[in-house]
Symmetry: none
Subunit: 219 residues, 4 copies
DNA sequence: TATGAATGAGAATTCATTCAT
DNA sequence: AATGAATGAATTCTCATTCAT
């Protein structure tokens, strides 16, 4: 009984220490950059001893990995409902896209530090991280592609190389995300930016007769 | 009492050594990444003594700075003629864009290593580098914006938040560039990819009545 | 969660290591001279790791500073009682001087190595050290001056520029100290040398009628 | 003929370069201290090439040696006439001493930089230099001793351990010299200081009946 | 489990010295 | 003879990692 309790207390303490370290690492990584960050900076920020670090992680790299893992898993969970109900009119498509993108933006913003950290540093740490992050981007691209494929099949989107287009969309998103998180968004509000983003994605730059009725074009 | 000849010879030798170091650095940075690269790796690759490095650069960072400077100045020189003759029909717009983008692709490809290096690592080295690279991206965006602004004014493009759109285009470009340089281009050839890229940029994803006559729409 | 005991143990260990380093430094500085001494020599002599040095000192200079500080503080403590009871007859003056000087000699001898080190090297390390050592000499001179001033006031010493005289006395002392510590004392024993020193200081070189009764001269 | 001339020109140039280097070294040694001075500092100050240094000296140490040699030889030459005519009255003794010391002061002042350099640094360079400088001090002490011995023999000075006394005098001189050259002389003028110095050397600190007639005391 | 002093391998950096011109 | 670019041995210094408490 006593030892059981004791064990639980110990485990709880360990978990708390681990969280302290992860939070401290995020903070210091953001402040100084991954490479300039020393283990001693992390433990100082976390308020624990130097040796304690090694009871939880093997290396600075492993902390980053844990942080990235945590971020990705949270993002994936939240993005599940993205393809819940597929649209059946053109306006629904636009609305659905706006909804998805807005929700994504919200989630990403709530992990602002880590997201910016990944955008900045992940590819520079080593090839494995670069690959992992590219995987994430690719999976976003794939989600997007499935969406567009469906739109093409249902006649709401023009036939195109949907794989290339979805990668292009991911690129657009990444750029605007970075500008946003560094407060350099070229638009008054995020909502404006997202509207422009979606408008542009659907209509391109070309000028043309306005009136769209939302009906699929007769081909 | 140094003779002119002697001075010239010395200078030439020094310049040659500097080039050797820059080339070696590019190679090693690409192979091992900026942070994993040691000064000793660079001098070994360059075939010069350890001390020689410090006669030319203060630090690894400074070499990277020199490389980036060299790349940027080359890119800028080559991009001058981008806005030479502005188009006067819609088809010309498309063609002009394709020309610009194709030429850029060629230039970028000829600096493949450095470009990839910058895409991967620059932002992670420190804030100053991040700022410098963002400046470059922003200047591309600005060039693009001027182009679109003109197209809007002449009625070939629909009115939109051209600053946001051009940043989005830069994002698209960066993503495809990266995929291309890492051989993951989602298209059979670069030309195909560029075509898709431009098609998408002008027309968006939306399906609609095909026939365009190249004339600006009557508004 | 560091226990009090643990903290004390750690502190004690650290202090012990620091002392080891200071002792080793003194030894090596004496053997090889400050400038020829390498950090690696000090740690080898101390039997600790290279990195340990830097946990305790920033540089070789800082070790020397610590050593000098330690020496000066010890000397100051011991010299406090120098002006305890001021003499009231001429003989007492001589005896008091002899007492002070003898005691000083004893103290200095017990720090033989550091004293010689300071005499030889301190001024050559940098201007700050030169200033610090000159300060010490000046404070000795000041002590001496107060002593002489008193003697002049009470009529046991002839009126003179006591500041200059005390500096001269310090110079004499430093020279004899150096000769003594390098075993080149021009006298059979230290006591002899001190006697000559004091005799000379009081009577000068001039020959004159011997008999002194210890009474202040009627002026 | 031509080659003769050529050779002379070359030699003259070489000698000039050597002097430039020696002067530069003195200046930089004074400014930065011997140990902090780099060969590159000396050649920069001299305005010659790095390699040129090694055509004239093997090392920094050798430059210092040359400078010290030059100083010592100059001092020795000038001090020859010190014992020219030995005094025959007490006043003549004082006057002779004042003359010698004043002349020495003048000479030393004209080599201010080198003298201060030697006082500060020589002993710290290595044991050989320490020995060389001590030799010089000892030779001064010896000169002084001969002077005092004579005074004792002729009855103008009281019998004493003349070797110890002359070392003490050298110590006094060194201290005052240092204070003087660093502008900390505890007296309005050098002349005042020298007067105090000599007064003290002859009469000591003790107060006593004034009137001296310059005659040797009846013993 | 947590701690922080100690460690030492390894990297950056310096600078006296060489040597081709 | 003079030069100054190149050199690399030698040192300093850092910091991830260990380990005794």
């Amino acid at each position: 009984m006593t030892s059981d309790t004791r064990q639980q207390v110990d485990e709880a303490r360990k978990a708390r220490t681990r969280e302290k370290l992860l939070d401290a690492a995020t903070k210091v990584f953001m402040r100084d950059g991954f490479h300039a960050t020393l283990i001693s900076d992390i433990v100082a920020e976390a308020g624990v001893g130097q040796g304690t670090f090694y009871r939880h992680f093997q290396s600075k790299r492993e902390v980053f990995e844990a942080l990235l893992e945590r971020l990705v898993s949270r993002l994936l969970v939240q993005f599940q409902p993205m393809n819940d109900q597929l649209p059946s009119t053109f306006e629904e498509y636009i609305e659905a896209s706006r909804g998805v993108v807005t929700r994504m933006a919200g989630i990403l913003e709530s992990h602002r530090d880590m997201v910016l950290l990944v955008l900045r540093e992940a590819a520079a740490i080593d090839r494995a991280f670069e690959a992992k992050v590219e995987e994430v981007y690719d999976s976003f691209a794939l989600q997007t592609q499935l969406f567009i494929d469906h739109a093409v099949r249902t006649g709401f989107a023009r036939p195109c190389h949907t794989q290339a287009v979805s990668q292009a969309l991911v690129g657009m998103g990444l750029r605007l995300l970075r500008l946003w998180l560094t407060n350099r968004l070229p638009a008054p509000t995020v909502e404006d930016a997202l509207s422009e983003f979606i408008e542009f994605a659907f209509r391109g730059m070309e000028a043309r007769p306005a009136g769209r009725d939302g009906a699929p074009p007769a081909i």
